[in-house]
Assembly symmetry: C2
């Protein structure tokens, strides 16, 4: 028996069999419902409100407040369809398809940076226009031989010329259709020239490339004119895989189940394709004109992109199938948008330091500097590189996606409705906040969490361990269903008709996350026998990074207590490094050298990391002397 | 409305819509019905007998004798289903699935020949066994890097190591499944080593290759142990494309219509696959163990094999898409039997001189000899090569497949029931014949036709122009439906309850075919300013060639009148050359040099070819002085 299930506010209806999962129904309907765990039933994020009809709510209750239950809330993943249904996706469970990601596609600026980094407009891909003499009975060599002869005359080493089989299949047709005037897309390596594609007429200048950043959370695409490096357009969205889980570990688990790997691959390929189509259509560019695509992502994202089982990334001793992926053609992984396009992936270093980091180092140029720098990328994961022109070490902290909202009761990503700045009055403990889009708040995003944590600590709402101090006597401090909580926004202020609070469980998760990041820095610096004082510069990359208030992050002990001017925000270096490598083969090659040069330190089994982590589970740190400016501020406030 | 159509004697039933073609019904039922034109309606070969039910016979009548019409004969391609039907496929329209093709797979002999030709057992494909150290936290490089490191230690140039994407996809799984003991299949070119495939455990010695001859009429497959060159087994069948047309021109036309190209490709790929599976199964070899396949065929067969439109081969100035095809993997053309296997095609020379001829020259070794030789391959087409170690010219005579039965009333291929030898008493004109399989005759095959033609000429049944001389007063000479005809076998002797005759139309077709072949020789020899006397040796290749009686062929003026000892039969050199190239990369390379060295002469537009052809439209030739032994024999007989 099947039931109609209608999702509000989008008013999308789908048929679902009796007893089927409401989470699956939403997925099938193409309705996005927030979920951190990918429907495994343990994150409590996929809240829906049943408006009409009956569901079996299963274990929903254990994740919902009494009030929520009263108001008809259920968890989609735990609920089973029992009748025809109308369910509403409340604001806090909605994921906007479009969201604010600064793609930062300013061509002139990027080209200038690239030039400063020693880059040029010499890709591995080129095009050549051939005006061939048509065959006659006296000149009756094969079509392929005719092309080869012309390339020979143009000075190419035709002894090592490869022709792509798909090109061969259409060769005769294209040559005749275009009256023997054709353009070839060529790919050059040290020893071999390969004919990638053939086009009718002279389209030498209509050649395009694509730079892609596959983040665990977001996907960003640049469509680039390969002739002059101009970014034609950019687009971004959440990584469509998010519905299968928030973090890499959840995705890896998902990939090993049933058809999960294929599903995840399809999701990201379609995701990129639709972003690309969006830009291409807008600018009147046929997808067939794309010759080259450079992708940067973490090692797991790379494996999923290629449809390679990432299982062993997760199991000790944490081994990826490959760090350097071979060049492939679009069609090999299901890109129908341009099956002939060559796809290159920024080289990875290890299971938890990927091509996005190699990309970032390339952009930061720390690998060319005399001085020692720290490069950090705080996204869904936290990766660190320490080094200079002579050496580089790298590590990944399993910080978890707390700062992206996972595991935080009202946590959400930096989108409209997110509290992004928090100020607490030290006397009254009243709260001032700023919401993205100047809207009524739905939840709190990463920068808001750092702010809240710093302010709560500085104003004494919480102690050094992150425990809420009931004794301050504020009406914002109260007992919630899971212990004490602090009210950031009252029900009347919020867009969801609920108080937005930070719980002690949230605080605990945030402190663990910041401790992991700081412990990563400290371990790596210690590993090299150095102190933070030896670091000349700290580069912060990543979409989340750009919104961090450095002083607040130092206050909670997430970043080391160094002079603020030593910190520099680089933005999304993953996409920029991919863009560099797309345009300039010298820089692409440099990226490979960077990846080879980096020594990976496995923190998860490091004794000193564990020690550092334990010491960092305080605000800002067990050793307050390591945070002199925070110490000073606390002393100032006490007075 | 649909009707059941049952085909006897196989008793296969299929549903066909009212008005549907009986030819298509047979095709759909998987019942083979002889056809030269591929169902176009103009060869008159696809005779069926309607036993029950009604068909609309269309234009069938014009191709059938009154007697045949009376007995319920119709042509499948002209007939449309009108009711439930039972039709019989008479013996003359049946194509045995199995037939006599001497595959000649004698390993020791072939290996000896190969050695004499300078060959060795060094293929481009090798295997290596790796016993890898499992990863640890201290040795945590990626799986691919681990393999690369092992290859580096084994002395390979890993800087230019490519890994096939399909291998990468299964790498992690295979390594762990096999406890890090694996075998790699490697492909070597001058500059690059590629990992073709990976297998669990040590299977270095279980590596196999396949040599294939794709003839227009027949397909032959050798499964070869690459370790020692032994032919594990061989198999052959009619080329499954035969049902789409007898000769290359018909197939090209078929390929340009609707889904024809795909259909033809599927037919030959499935054909090869099933022959291969037959051998592999018999010898307990898993198809996954095949690393390399070398295919020899004419240029059109190659195009169809690769799924490349052969249209321009047929249109002046007769240009193939490629003469040298790039190496591809099985999966690219739909080989599911071993998708990773590399496929190489013996290089072609021009539109009508293909890889089968390059293969043949390689086997004949005429390209290394001081003396001038003539190499001829008489199969469905006739190709000629003239030359020595310094030069080679080549041409194709559009002889047409008359000697394979096409256009000959009772023509058939060399299979059971075919008259293969004919003797006519010079006084009584009574006929003695020999039938393949010592069966009752169904028709007459190529060697039988040559015999019949020679005997009829020598005994005065026909004149120099091939006209039947009524005046000899034999009861075997009679007026048929299309002019005079000569009875070879009486109705009581035959297996088809019909007289087997040779008509004047048949004689005309045969003389035109033999004239084209001879004119080819003469033109090529003349082209080089030589005479037949300058030729030291004539090598005859091809399945049909092996059954030719040289003296009879000289008598009809098909072969030049040279001493019989100058002729040498080589058998199927197409498959043997492919076998050489599979095993020995030096010989494969030599074949490429051969193909490059051959100069192609386009006979179809040659004025001197037309002159030679006109002169050869007599028995044995206009200029009887060119055939002194025939002249002598005729004089002897007159006495």
């Amino acid at each position: 028996m099947k039931h109609k299930v209608t999702f509000l506010p989008d008013n999308l209806t789908i048929e679902m069999e009796h007893g089927g999962s409401l989470f699956k129904a939403a997925k099938a309907a193409g309705v996005y419902v927030l979920s951190s765990c990918g429907g495994k039933g343990n994150c409590g994020k996929c809240k829906l409100v049943v408006k009409q009809g009956t569901v079996d709510p299963g274990q929903s209750k254990s994740y919902l407040s009494a009030e929520e239950q009263e108001r008809g809330y259920v968890l989609a993943c735990h609920s089973h369809v029992q009748s025809e249904l109308t369910v509403e996706i409340p604001a806090e469970s909605r994921m906007q398809a479009k969201h604010k990601i600064a793609t930062g596609a300013k061509t002139e600026e990027l080209l200038k940076f690239m030039q400063e980094a020693g880059g040029c407009l010499e890709s591995r891909i080129s095009r050549i226009y051939l005006d061939l003499a048509p065959p006659t009975l006296d000149d009756n060599i094969s079509d392929l031989e005719r092309v080869r002869r012309a390339l020979d005359q143009a000075g190419f080493d035709v002894e090592n010329l490869h022709i792509n089989f798909m090109v061969l299949r259409k060769l005769s047709h294209v040559l005749r259709e275009a009256a023997w005037k054709v353009t070839l897309a060529l790919f050059h390596t040290g020893t071999v020239t390969e004919v990638l594609d053939i086009f009718p007429h002279n389209v030498v200048k209509k050649r395009f490339g694509v730079a892609v950043d596959i983040g665990t959370t977001t996907v960003v695409v640049y469509l680039v004119d390969l002739a002059n490096g101009h970014i034609i357009g950019s687009a971004s969205s959440y990584n469509a895989q998010v519905k299968c889980g928030d973090d890499v570990i959840t995705r890896i688990v998902y990939a090993t189940e049933k058809n999960g790997l294929q599903e995840l691959q399809d999701l990201v390929i379609n995701n990129i394709s639709s972003l690309l189509t969006e830009i291409a259509t807008k600018h009147g560019i046929r997808p067939g004109m794309i010759d080259y695509m450079v992708v940067a992502g973490n090692t797991t994202m790379n494996h999923l992109f290629y449809g390679i089982n990432p299982q062993f990334i997760r199991e000790e001793p944490y081994i990826p199938t490959a760090a350097f992926f071979p060049l492939i053609r679009g069609k090999s992984i299901g890109f129908t948008i341009d099956p002939q396009a060559l796809i290159y992936s920024m080289p990875n270093v290890a299971s938890y330091v990927g091509g996005d980091i190699t990309s970032g180092v390339l952009v930061s140029q720390i690998h060319k500097k005399e001085e020692v720098s720290l490069f950090i990328d705080i996204g869904t994961n936290g990766e660190i590189v320490l080094g200079n022109k002579d050496w580089m070490v790298t590590a990944a902290c399993s910080a978890g996606p707390a700062f992206e909202g996972s595991g935080i009761k009202f946590g959400m990503r930096a989108m409209e409705g997110a509290i992004e700045e928090v100020e607490i009055n030290p006397q009254t403990h009243e709260v001032n906040y700023r919401v993205i889009g100047d809207a009524k708040p739905i939840g709190i995003c990463g920068s808001g969490m750092i702010d809240a944590l710093a302010e709560m600590y500085l104003t004494g709402v919480i102690d050094q361990k992150g425990k809420i101090r009931e004794e301050i006597g504020s009406n914002r401090v109260r007992k919630g269903e899971n212990g004490l909580e602090f009210v950031l926004a009252w029900r009347v202020e919020s867009a969801i008709n609920k108080e937005i609070v930070i719980t002690e469980v949230d605080l605990d998760n945030l402190i663990r996350a910041k401790a992991a990041i700081y412990a990563g820095f400290a371990t790596l610096v210690g590993h090299m026998g150095m102190t933070f004082g030896d670091i000349a510069k700290i580069y912060i990359a990543g979409g989340f990074g750009r919104y961090i208030d450095v002083e607040r992050a130092i206050t909670i002990g997430m970043l080391p207590d160094l002079a603020v001017e030593k910190f520099q925000f680089l933005g999304n270096t993953s996409i920029v490094g991919a863009y560099y490598s797309l345009l300039c083969d010298r820089l692409r090659h440099e990226a490979e050298e960077i990846a080879k040069k980096m020594t990976y330190v496995e923190l998860s089994v490091s004794r000193s990391f564990m020690d550092e982590y334990m010491s960092a589970l305080f605000l800002p740190h067990t050793d307050l002397h390591a945070f002199p400016t925070v110490q000073k501020e606390m002393e100032k406030r006490k007075k």
